[in-house]
Each structure stands twice: as C-alpha cells, then as structure tokens.
Symmetry: C2
Subunit: 265 residues, 2 copies
C-alpha cells in the first residue's frame, strides 16, 4: 500500500486519471476507468489490464481481497481521499475502488468460430449500450462490436451498466458498421438487423445458424443502408398495444432467441 | 383554448398540478401527471382519464391534433409558459404537452381470463418498473401488478419509461404480493418467481399454461417468503460469464418466452 493518502485534486496522478472521464483523453492515452468492486475484480482477473488502483481508506478494509490481488499482479495501489474518489468515480455514491485500465483491443477477424455476435450501430445511450453488452455476455455471445457511430464502450456509464461484462468477452471498437458486417459475413455469420419495421417476425426467423445481430438507434432504429446490408430484417413481435420495445429489451429477446436456437431448444 | 397563458408558478392551477410530482399528493388527489405527446395521446384515447391538459405555445402548433382531441372530449386546455411546463414536466427537455390524469384503478380479480400477468414485487427503480410495464404490454400481458412494496406506478419516471403502456392494459396497485399471488392462483394461473437462484432453467420451465411472473428487487431479488409462495422459481440461463441479468432484461426474456409458448411456438 502506498503510504500517504492522495487528497489534492490537482496532484498529477489524480489529474491524469480524472481526464479519462473524457473520451478524447481516453483515446489519446488508450486508458479508461472502471469503478466499483465488481468491475475492479473482473479487470484484475484479466491480468494485463489494470495499470493502477485507487482505493479509499474505508474500501481498503472492505475489499482487502482486491488489494491483495492487485499487489500479487504488481499493480500500484494508491490511497485516495473520499473527495478524490468522488471526483474520479462520477457516481453519486462511489464504492471506494477504481481501476485505471488499458483499452481491451480485440480484432473482429481474430474471434474464433463466432456463433453469436452483437453489433451496436448508432446506439447512443451508454446505459443501453452497457446493458446490451451484459445481456450479450449472459446469452453466451462470442463478441460485441461498438461501431464508430455508437457511444464509446469505455464511457463510465457504459462500463457500469455492463456490470463486469466488458472484461468477459471480446469487445471490438473503431470500425464502421459496414466493415463489421463484411468481416462477419466472411466468417460465415448470417446478418440479422433488429428493427421494428422488419418483415420477418422473430418467431419465424431461422436462428439455428451462426448469427450476428445489428441493433440500431434508440429513437430511429437502423438507417436504410445498414438494413440493406443485412440478410434479413427481423422484428420482435408486438402481441399487445405497445408501439415498440426499449432497445436493450428488444436486444435481450433477440439474443436469447438465438442462444436457445443454437442449443436446439 | 383558454386565452391567457399561465406564467406564474404560484398560481393555484400550477401549484395543484405541481404537487402531483410527489407521491403523497398523488395518492391524496388520486391524480398523476403524464408528459409528452405519446403519453398524452394514449391518455386521451382512454376517454375518462384526463382532467386537464397543459400545453406551451410552441406545442399548441406542433400537436394541434392533441388539442382537438382534448376539446372533443371536453378536457380543459391550459396554455402554459415554458417555465411553468419545465416546473411540471420534470424532464430536461419538456415536450410541451402534459396531462393531469385520474388514477387508473383496475382490480386484479376483475381481469377476465388472464393468461399472462407480471407482478412487480420490490422493484424500486421507476425506470425499470416502467420498462417492465412496456415489455409486458408488448408481450401481450393481461395485467401488470405493482405491489405495495414496489415503486409507485404513477411516478413520473415510471410513466415516461412505460411509453404509453400504462394506458394500454390493466395496472393494479395497492395490494401485497401475497394477496396478488392468492388472487392469481384462484384465477388458475401458475405462479413463477423469476430469480437467479432458481433450480429450474427457463429453457425447461413448462410455460404453456396461464402464468403469472413475479419479478423482484434489482439488487437482491425476491425474499424467501415470496419464493415459497410460487409454484416454481425459474432462472434465466446464463450461457456466458455474466453474473446476472438486469431486471428489465430478465423480465423481457421471461415474458416473451411465455408469449411464445402460449402461441404454441
């Protein structure tokens, strides 16, 4: 444990971490912040991801196992005041542990034998994006793609909503939806665009093959050019009077339908 | 159209509406607020629900059809300044139309031949609750129960997240989960508690019968006594490494599994 507590918001270590709350600096430094014991645990489990760990005095006692794990991996641990932690964590009630992490760069063409992939195209709300990532993980997806028109995968709200899943499966960033679709087609996946305007109902869609799902914008769905790139446009059937489903909800129904079908259910 | 514009935050009409942002006053007056054109349209479509409509000058032009509908139903329309609307709407960017609505009292024992019911027990986040309501509507549910340990169905955030679904199907409030379960069993429904600790996987659960799903707290799920009241405790299978699913996501997967099964799919 580093002896003295960081209390000065202007100290270089704090400022270097603080600027990672902004996307431009995350991309320059290729680093991001993961807050809370669950995210920190999963980040440490990845071995080569965490570059330093901030911890408050309280959390040092409460999460001693995380500090042990950090020390075992040679990760520097910095004790921070409550004020410094609040400044970095960007949550109303910070949980006292926060890791600075290296970008998790996965290449889509290096994912082996993918059978289920989620592509986030034009998803703008970081909470929605993180929830889809978590759901894709739960449904056993092999990768999640954040296209360059979607929210940043390393946005603090997205990291939190993913509940650790960001560290579980390959997350691919920085390519266009068209490039992602091309790579996925080359890998033999069927491309299904999820859109309320789809002619094919999810109940009738053939899902047994390896599939990549494309999910669009919360308000306006997917643009024409992306719909045309897909092998089929599939809608989640609305049996009641609702106009549509929430994006993360629709994604959950689609991804689990594929997961079930891949298991012969 | 009422001629003069309400600009004073302390005028009696504004104060009477403003206090409906608090649960205690909603329950005393048995009235709530629904903001935005979609919610207002659905509320007006119910005929006997809206008691008055606030509209800004801008929105009066943009949503003329809503004002016509209000006038046709004899609903008083009040023109409000942007400041008054902001005060009432509780959103960052109010959409300029806001209805004062009567409570939508449905009795669970008056729902006819229910085949799919969602029970929100201990759901505390209004956004989650509204999303489950919207999903239940989409999945063709016959009713949604907000037990007295859950968030208020008429909370502004819940109304917004429901995206109009609050007005589409019977929403039952003010009874305990135990009472709801008793009534639903009497109506011949199978009671399934959705919980990550369930022994039965959703993939194996028999879902063809009429079913009521109980959904629990975001963080800690369902209490023991409620798990015991259920005919079965069902978990959404986790095929990847995620620890759990988000509550609204899990509810979507369960409700759509039932909807599909009820249609012989």
């Amino acid at each position: 444990m580093a002896g003295s507590e960081l209390t000065n918001l202007r100290s270089p270590r704090v400022k270097a971490a603080r600027r990672l709350t902004k996307r431009a600096f995350r991309e320059r430094d290729r680093l991001f912040l993961a807050e809370g014991p669950q995210a920190v645990r999963e980040a440490l489990a990845r071995g080569d991801v965490v570059t330093e760990l901030f911890v408050t005095g309280d959390a040092e006692v409460r999460h001693a196992e995380l500090l042990d794990a950090a020390r075992d991996s040679g990760v520097p641990v910095l004790r921070a005041s409550g004020e410094v932690m609040s400044e970095l964590a960007q949550t109303v009630t910070p949980q006292g542990v926060l890791a600075v992490c290296r970008f998790l760069t996965s290449r889509l063409d290096e994912v082996r034998d993918p059978r289920l992939v989620a592509v986030l195209a034009h998803v703008r709300d970081p909470g929605n994006a993180g929830t889809v990532l978590r759901t894709a993980d739960a449904a056993g997806a092999d990768a999640v793609v954040f296209t360059d028109a979607s929210v940043d995968a390393y946005n603090g709200k997205c990291v939190r909503a993913s509940a650790g899943s960001l560290f579980h499966l390959p997350v691919v960033t920085g390519l266009s939806a068209a490039d992602a679709v091309r790579t996925l087609k080359d890998a033999g996946l069927r491309i299904l665009a999820a859109d309320g305007t789809g002619k094919t109902s999810l109940d009738e869609a053939p899902l047994a093959e390896p599939t990549a799902w494309i999910f669009g914008n919360e308000a306006w769905g997917l643009p024409e050019d992306l719909l045309r790139l897909a092998d089929d446009v599939v809608r989640v059937p609305i049996y009641g009077q609702a106009e549509s489903l929430n994006l993360a909800t629709a994604a959950a129904v689609c991804l689990y339908a594929s997961a079930r079908s891949h298991r012969g259910l």
